[in-house]
Amino acid sequence: MSDTLDDDKPTRRDFLYITTGAFGVVGAASVAWPLIDQLNPDASVKAVSTIEVDISSIEPGSFLKVAWRGKPIYIRRRTNEEIADAEKDDNLNLPDPQKDMERVQKKEWLVVVGVCTHLGCIPIANQGEYEGWFCPCHGSHYDISGRIRKGPAPTNLEIPPYEFVSDSLIKIG
């Protein structure tokens, strides 16, 4: 009787110790998650990560500048000449080749993030050699499609995720 007990004991003991240890590890890991997750954007930050913008008041040839996720967004209502200008240059040898069509959902509306792709300055609208945007920090010139044409910036102005809720309302984010 005592022999069987002695043979039996180590395995039962190991099993108990391993199970307990595993529970401890699982418990500690679960406790860690809330402590990490609290670093993620909170509910009030997420709530303003999507914005709806009324674009009905923007005249052709003018733009609206709104803030989205702490960055400026230019919503530009382009005239027919401006659209023609942008499409005309589609096949030139551009630093970051992209067709105008790929950068808009509706030709009339150009929506870009107003942050220079060089070092993060905010370019000024309607300025520069291509009358799109001009970044005063290091002299990057963007065209009416927001494409980089001249200067140190490596890529075109970023297009934020957006959709047309209706003809007069767009949702960014």
Partner: protein, 412 residues
């Protein structure tokens, strides 16, 4: 403490490290292999539980500080922001606020254990005094932390307590203004309390290290109060006490989690969910439950200055405990008369806590005076005199056969 065990580095790397930074040696000798009396009961697990409490408070506190704004205009709303918007913010804040209560619950049990088993007696006086310093720092930290949510009880609690300083003769008024950074509790007060509330836990942590260092010179006291006589009286700290302590901690967590998840505001006060208003005072200003006994002592005396002095005296007297108790025997187990006074003292403290929440009038005032007198009499009269006249019960000759002799005592 003399130990038979010595750390031997096993390979080249540990030998190399050992001659440069003997970290493994330290861990091995002071944590893993540390010889610990084998007869410690579950009241001895609260040292570990308290360490866990401190770590929990520091971690959750650092996180709360990431989202909290220490400004009178923003503080209250930023706490609500934590509760409503931050991912798991409610959980982290409830752990922190209930954690303070659990910390004090554990420290009270830890201190009453030391008091009963004579853990403050020679050669452990310094451990006890360091413990008193930790307790004092805990009170100050908890008091400042309670101000941060900037509720009505935060504001008026701070006002009342800081006004106590004003009772001091000559320097009172200028000292009050210096503490407040103004003429009333306001933004400068909140800002410095936030700063100090963040700092003090790390100082507590430092004193805890000293506390443990001092403990590791003579080693643990134990329920029979006899010194360790040899290897037969001890076991290695790991795994015996790491496992036992952790088991006790999980039981402690059950209570802690009950409060966090099912009754998170039971230990707080409703008025602290009203934003601070300097023009409206709550009907009853009461501190958190763990400060109630001292609040009762404060209000037991008609004279304000005397009340303040008595309240501080109630903590100060703890520092002198090692020399007030004249008994040669450590453990209360072998002091038949002391046990009755001790139980009476525990009940006295509980009643003081109850009275701290009542309006000091009529019977409550009378009771708080009686209990205050006993509180001091226990330290200043009972302990010094009793130690000289009390007849001790027969004691075992060593730790290893103490169980045997306890049966002997029970049979008497």
């Amino acid at each position: 403490m003399d130990t038979d065990y010595k750390y031997e580095p096993k390979n080249g790397l540990t030998r190399w490290l050992d001659s440069r930074l003997p970290l493994m040696r330290f861990t091995s000798e002071h944590v893993l292999q540390f010889p610990t009396p084998k007869n410690l009961n579950y009241f001895w697990t609260f040292g570990f539980i308290l360490t866990m409490c401190l770590v929990t408070q520091i971690i959750t506190g650092i996180i709360l500080a990431m989202h909290y704004a220490p400004s009178t205009l923003l503080a209250f709303d930023s706490v609500e922001h934590i509760m409503r918007n931050v991912n798991y913010g409610w959980l982290i804040r409830y752990i922190h606020s209930n954690g303070a209560s659990m910390f004090f619950l554990a420290v009270f049990i830890h201190m009453f254990r030391g008091l009963y088993y004579g853990s403050y007696k020679e050669p452990r006086e310094v451990i006890w005094i360091l413990g008193c310093i930790i307790y004092l720092l805990m009170i100050v930290t908890a008091f400042m932390g309670y101000v941060l949510p900037w509720g009505q009880m935060s504001f008026w609690g701070a006002t009342v307590i800081i006004n106590l300083v004003g009772t001091l003769p000559l320097i009172g008024e200028s000292l009050t203004q210096m503490l407040l950074g103004g003429f009333a509790v306001d933004n400068p007060t909140l800002n410095r309390f936030f700063s100090l509330h963040y700092l003090l836990p790390f100082i507590i942590f430092g004193v805890v290290l000293l506390h443990i260092w001092a403990l590791h010179v003579p080693g643990n006291n134990n329920p029979v109060g006899l010194s360790v006589q040899g290897k037969q009286d001890t076991v290695a700290f790991h795994p015996y006490y790491t496992v036992k302590d952790f088991f006790a901690y999980t039981v402690f967590l059950l209570l802690f989690c009950y409060f966090i998840f099912y009754n998170p505001n039971a230990l707080g006060h409703a008025d602290n969910y009203i934003e601070a208003d300097a023009m409206v005072t709550p009907a009853h200003i009461v501190p958190e439950w763990y400060l109630l006994p001292f609040y009762a002592i404060l209000r037991a005396v008609p004279d304000k200055l005397a009340g303040v002095l008595l309240m501080f005296g109630a903590i100060a007297v703890l520092f002198f405990l090692p020399w007030l108790d004249t008994a040669k025997v450590r453990s209360g187990r072998y002091r038949p008369i002391f046990r009755y006074f001790y139980v009476l003292f525990v009940i006295d403290c509980l009643i003081l806590g109850y009275l701290g929440a009542q309006v000091p009038e009529g019977i409550y005032l009378f009771l708080s005076r009686v209990t205050t007198i006993y509180y001091f009499a226990f330290f200043l009269l009972v302990l010094p005199i009793l130690g000289r006249i009390e007849k001790m019960k027969p004691m075992p000759i060593g730790i290893s056969n103490s169980e045997l002799s306890r049966d002997m005592v029970a049979a008497e």
